[in-house]
Assembly symmetry: C2
Homo-oligomer: 414 residues x 2
């Protein structure tokens, strides 16, 4: 965590106009847990009948809030009434004290809303290994209640930022039967980003009325296609959390427990929403100057293609070459080889910006370097690798590795 304010990423996108999600109210405030002069707490309140789905980091040393959410999901049957998030302290590696903070926070919020603690979901992001001052967090909650509003999405996106340089939000609508529903989402994340999942928090809410099991299936599919396809630095956070709340305030035909065709458009909208947010996280990758799309085709399977794509995306030598504007396909070949997946050097082809530089295991004689050089100068770089063995495909996104990453992560905690 860097001491001073960081310049906004050159890859930033504007925050969208976000309509309300009927029934979903938000509020933000300053608990001064770590940061001064900015809001660092965000709550969401949901109406009775709200369902929830969640996916969490696969890091073996997760933070206390991740443990809390997993247990709440399992024991509460997918019911939710509130979400409490703080930025600046991740409540990770804090032992018994960390668990007690979670219990006290959920208890305090449950009392304010008249619900059960297990209906309160929690997330924390920030420094690891320092005790979260529970009183500051619970003490801030009562003052937020009168300020709950359906319009507070932009402030909510700002309150959960840590090293993020811009707030991240997205919105979509979808048809369920003859009704139109809204899905809003916000996210934070810029470093410690790698599947599964990218290090980040993402909170989405819809007014659709969906059984919790259906919601979980839809979320899993959408995360697989979004947050599990991005990487900044190969480091997997201890706090990754994606939560999706369905408030059930929309009027549409009842969705069966199997989901089915009726949800096709909703699934598309959710996929798009999370993909949009995932790319915003990469666009804010620490020190990122370029957004990099890596498409692998011709692998023996989709899983193999994804592993190869991630090996390329995580290679420091590939990422520094891109930072230097160098279409260094030799390093791409190296990264393909190190993935450990089936590959035949003499069938490999590599394209940068749509120009095939290498085909079937050798450089393309006299390929036109001018458009490649031009492409590498831009903000968005496209790399395509054909393995030449099968029909497996995958696309992942990453950013370049620059001096900015070292600046941000090499400074003292302060």
């Amino acid at each position: 965590m860097a001491a001073g304010p960081l310049p906004v990423s050159p890859l930033a996108v504007p925050f969208p106009e976000m309509p309300p999600v009927p029934g979903v109210r938000l509020a933000t405030g300053a608990a001064e847990i770590r940061y001064r002069g900015r809001e660092d707490v965000m709550v969401m309140a949901f109406p009775q009948g709200t369902t929830v789905a969640g996916l969490f980091t696969r890091n073996r040393c997760p933070g206390a809030p991740v443990d809390w959410c997993r247990a709440a999901l399992a024991r509460g049957g997918g019911k939710a009434r509130a979400l409490v998030v703080n930025a600046g302290n991740a409540n990770v590696f804090t032992g018994r004290a960390g668990r007690e903070t979670c219990e006290a926070t959920a208890q305090a919020m449950a009392e304010l809303l008249g619900c059960r603690p297990r209906e309160v979901f929690l997330a924390s992001t920030g420094v690891i290994g320092e005790r979260l001052p529970t009183g500051k967090l619970t003490g801030a909650l009562p003052g937020l209640m009168p300020r709950l509003s359906e319009a507070a999405w932009p402030a909510a996106a700002r309150a959960i930022m840590t090293t993020d340089t811009f707030p991240k939000g997205a919105t979509r609508t979808a048809r369920i039967g003859d009704a139109t529903v809204t899905i809003n989402g916000i996210a934070k994340g810029s470093g410690m980003i790698a599947p599964d999942m990218a290090t980040m928090l993402c909170f989405a809410a819809t007014d659709a009325k969906l059984p919790a099991a259906v919601l979980q299936r839809l979320l899993k599919r959408a995360v697989e296609r979004s947050f599990n396809r991005i990487t900044v630095d190969s480091d997997t956070s201890t706090s990754d959390t994606v939560l999706l709340f369905a408030a059930g305030t929309a009027r549409h035909p009842r969705v069966p427990a199997t989901g089915g065709a009726m949800l096709r458009d909703f699934a598309r909208a959710l996929d798009e929403l999370l993909h949009d947010l995932a790319l915003q996280v990469v666009r804010d990758g620490e020190g990122a100057q370029k957004l990099v799309r890596i498409a692998v085709t011709g692998a023996v399977s989709a899983r193999s293609a994804q592993r190869i794509a991630l090996a390329i995306a995580n290679s420091p030598l590939v990422k520094t070459a891109i930072a230097g504007g160098d279409a260094n396909w030799g390093r791409i070949v190296m990264a393909v080889g190190k993935a450990g997946e089936p590959a035949d050097r003499d069938r490999l082809s590599v394209a940068v910006g749509g120009v095939w530089m290498a085909r079937d295991g050798g450089v393309v004689p006299d390929y036109d370097e001018t458009p490649v050089v031009e492409h590498m100068r831009g903000r968005e770089v496209e790399i395509t690798v054909d393995i030449g063995l099968g029909r497996g495909e995958a696309t992942v996104w990453t950013c370049d590795l620059t001096h900015g990453y070292i600046d941000i992560n090499g400074s003292y905690r302060s």
Copy 2:
């Protein structure tokens, strides 16, 4: 590959006094394959009866010289008469032309020495994906023959450098029966360094007389304990090669095909030699300012300990924290968790410079920060992680991730 000369690593060690290995002659010359004004070709010539052992990259897209050496080892029964190495062009991803370069080089050297091409071993290091100008390499060989000398070890170590900032050599002696034998080794490597193996070339030779199968077993064991325990950037080269030649000129009792107790001291000396060279490679890690030793204890197995240690050593967030002098044990916990190996957050302990900062899943209250800060300011950083589950142990070495790495790898090839 950077354009200009790089400053010598602050972690450099002096080149040792290297005695001759009786029967092993070396010569170096300038073929101007890529570099100007420096030597870039190195040959070794061995007497009849020399045996050889080799280990190579596990990258699935190896260079043509790696294919050549694997085939020569398999078909030649472990006999060797010569080694030819060039720096500046790796002869990787060069298709049929690359294979033809290997055949022509081995043929040319075999004619000069009166041996068979399969007794000639080859290695190339440098840029990937460009054709190696065969004529420049083979044309340089005749001029080297009159200059072959048992004293040319320092020049040989220099001739194989690419982005290395200092030449790397080591020497040991060992007792076999009542005779003393010598083992000399040289290595190159500074980036694209990760097991298996570290990206590098290493050539060692001894005057001991050892069956090829015994030599191969000893080499495998020594590499496992040295080059497979280091990482600079997690990138695995396409050209990694370790070759060990036994000239058989020493007078010692005949070593049986099973090796056995008679070779205990030789095995120790070989382990030490390769460990010394492996650490020199880390000390020359691109941009390295600090040498980092990571010891993991208490894992469920030695293999698990090694995976956890490498996850810590390869984490960009850990490496940048070390560069910034920050004993950020939270990031170490994250890296333990992302390794995917059995770990229990609440049993983890972390020490830096011998001071336990975290024990059993939480920060140690009031641990003395002064010696830790002092330790982090030094050139050598020691991290110890106890997993608290079993008896598995492993130690790996890496370096920090600094602006220098970005400078070296983010510049245009030129």
